[in-house]
């Protein structure tokens, strides 16, 4: 099996040069102007938080909420790591956008045949053995690409070698883990990172219990309703039979008198 790939983003090392943004936009032939937030023409942006720069990008979750939510299975997790969107299946319901805990997917609101847009971790390039355009462009080693377990080890090395780092890698366990990892020298909550809504549990567990109950509910409900129907029918039959009996008795009585 292919080794799971990942991207490590080091907030301490990021100099905010926007090379990653530009490289991404060049690759996708978007207009090169920097945008303030993710959009259908900006799959990664560098946001300023105080004197720090924080990249926003699809986290490529290990067990993605968007993929579990998509009614037609247009989103899937690939073996290499990227969470990929299949535009041919999409019906444009935008449930993925509601489901994503990081609010990453964007929509082409202006188009007549709109699709969902988000980072695909340069899936084609990494399949060919390369790396994403953004990590390739990073001059500061702030965004690096590699095997996921090796990157986690590398992140721990960086944390151990420099005591200014927060001893936590965001993305290893959050919401079941992701293929984009962050290390930082400023506490994550101060940089706008929200704790994952499910803690370390994958997001799809939120719906799994409701969906898992449905076969039980259907079987139980079906049985109870059938039983009630049987009782109703039986009572009707009994009432009918009793009425007939009464009528017969009355007739006999009348005949005798």
């Amino acid at each position: 099996m292919a080794r799971r790939k990942a991207m490590l983003i080091d907030i301490k090392l990021c100099i905010g040069c926007l090379s990653c943004e530009t490289a991404c936009k060049q690759l996708h032939r978007f207009s090169p102007d920097s945008e303030p937030t993710l959009s259908d023409t900006a799959f990664t942006v560098v946001e300023t938080r105080g004197d720090k720069f924080v990249r926003k990008i699809c986290m490529h979750c290990e067990d993605p909420a968007c993929a579990s939510a998509c009614p037609v299975g247009a989103i899937g997790k690939s073996a290499l790591g990227p969470v990929l969107y299949n535009a041919d299946k999409c019906i444009g319901c935008r449930y993925c956008m509601l489901a994503c805990p990081y609010s990453v997917p964007r929509y082409q609101w202006s188009k007549l045949a709109p699709y969902v847009k988000k980072c695909d971790l340069c899936s084609e390039r990494i399949k060919a053995g390369g790396q994403p355009a953004c990590t390739e462009a990073c001059p500061a080693q702030a965004s690096v690409f590699g095997d996921r377990d090796e990157l986690i080890a590398e992140a721990w090395d960086r944390i151990r070698a420099d005591s200014s780092y927060v001893p936590h890698i965001y993305g290893v366990e959050e919401a079941g883990g992701s293929c984009v990892l962050f290390v930082s020298d400023v506490p994550f909550e101060k940089l706008g990172f929200k704790p994952a809504p499910t803690g370390n549990q994958p997001m799809p567990t939120l719906t799994a219990s409701a969906l898992g109950d449905s076969p039980k509910v259907v079987i139980m409900g079906g049985t109870i309703l059938s039983a009630l129907y049987w009782v109703t029918q039986r009572r009707r039959e009994v009432a009918l039979a009793e009425a007939e009996e009464k009528a017969t008795i009355n007739r006999i009585k009348e005949e005798r008198s």
Binding site: L98, W109, L112, T207, A210, G221
Partner: protein
């Protein structure tokens, strides 16, 4: 000639004309100009009024069909048979409006059939799609006799209705289960949006809350529709049935209120209700309209036994239900999503047009088909009970 035309122009006809003209223009904008021109939806607010009003309210308010058909067919509550067809018709038309609305909502409407062949069993929305499609077929089946019996071919009519009768109970049973599933799954849609839905509405039992709240709201809409039919369409229903319906609505609302209060306590969300936020305001509005006022009103005999008062009490229930669904789908999300969403007029106009089409279809069905018992005597006697006998529907 001119005076004849003039007399044809009534206030309601003018309103209907305005609804359809604006609705058609909004529809044109939606399909030929796109979302940007026809909605205020954004990346922060991907679902808006079409989902909140069109789908969540549309399906929820159509819940009476399965409730009444379960009561009559499965539980033998023959008392409600006179309003059975009306409630099935309301559900059927409600689901039709949702199916049409679905084409507005999805970005690529020509792919509406994808969920039928592309399955994703972990998706609540997939289950909702499949359940709604199947249940719309069930409703079509349940309603079909009203149309078939009007067909001129006797032989055909009898054969079809005979087979129809044979499988009816099975279909009704399947319909009840399907309804129960997707009524709750509509709430289940928001389970995955934990952290986005405000704590006053988010709960791990959201799906159960949706289920419990839909049935009284659906009944209330049915009572309203039957009241209006009796007032204007020369039909007659034993008012005792509607009065009993009022009591049933109250009972169901109390059950829902009990679980809602308990659920809020279990999630330790009551604190949010007393903060000075717009969410708390919307929450109390919903609580007043959907629970406090109707439960209070319907506990009075002279509200339940007076057609007009019962109608207005039911109207409050429906308004409160809509407040709940719009709160969940729009107001509960805005803060966490960092969005400020006010629907564009086109969103409202197209939704209202689709609903108006449903209302008009209901009207003509009641006039031309045997939906509700027709009044044979003078219209004045329309409230008089016919002795509680099951009228021929």
């Amino acid at each position: 000639m001119l005076t004849r035309i003039k007399s044809e122009i009534t206030l309601w006809r003018v309103i209907v004309a305005i609804i359809f003209v604006t609705g058609m223009y909004a529809t044109f904008l939606r399909f030929f100009e796109g979302f940007r021109a026809s909605t205020n939806l954004s990346d922060q607010m991907p679902w808006g009024l079409w989902v909140g009003l069109g789908t969540l309210c549309g399906i929820g308010l159509s819940a009476a069909g399965f409730g009444i058909s379960a009561a009559v067919y499965l539980l033998g509550m023959e008392r409600y048979r006179p309003i059975l067809r009306a409630s099935i018709l309301i559900s059927f038309l409600g689901y039709m409006t949702v199916c049409v609305g679905y084409l507005y909502e999805i970005g690529l409407p020509w792919r509406f059939w994808h969920p039928i062949v592309m399955w994703n069993h972990t998706s609540v929305l997939f289950d909702v799609c499949v359940c709604i499609m199947t249940y719309t077929a069930v409703l079509t089946f349940e309603f079909a006799p009203a149309v078939i019996e009007k067909l001129p071919w006797r032989q055909f009519r009898e054969t079809v209705l005979q087979y129809h009768h044979k499988i009816l109970i099975g279909v009704v049973l399947a319909g009840v289960l399907l309804s129960s599933m997707h009524q709750s799954y509509l709430g289940g849609l928001y389970l995955i949006a934990r952290g986005k839905v405000h704590p006053l509405w988010y709960s791990q039992y959201m799906h159960a809350m949706f289920y419990l709240s839909a049935i009284p709201a659906g009944l209330a809409l049915t009572v309203m529709a039957i009241y209006l039919s009796m007032r204007s369409l020369n039909v007659r229903v034993d008012f005792g049935i509607l009065s009993g319906g009022g009591r049933m609505i109250q009972l169901l609302l109390i059950v829902y209120a009990f679980f809602r209060v308990l659920d809020l306590a279990a999630n330790q969300a009551w604190g949010y209700a007393f903060q000075r936020t717009s969410e708390a305001g919307y929450f109390w509005l919903e609580m007043l309209l959907f629970l406090a006022i109707p439960i209070f009103l319907l506990s009075y005999e002279h509200v339940r036994s007076n057609p007009e008062r019962l109608y207005w009490a039911c109207a409050v229930v429906v308004a409160g239900f809509m407040a709940n669904r719009l709160n969940v789908s729009i107001n509960a999300l805005q803060t966490a999503m960092g969005a400020h969403y006010v629907p564009k007029w086109t969103e409202l106009a197209s939704s209202v047009m689709v609903i108006a089409a449903g209302v008009m279809a209901f009207r003509y069905a009641v006039i031309y088909l045997d939906i509700l018992p027709k009044a044979t005597s003078q219209p004045r006697s329309r409230w008089i009970s016919n002795g509680g006998l099951p009228a021929q529907a």
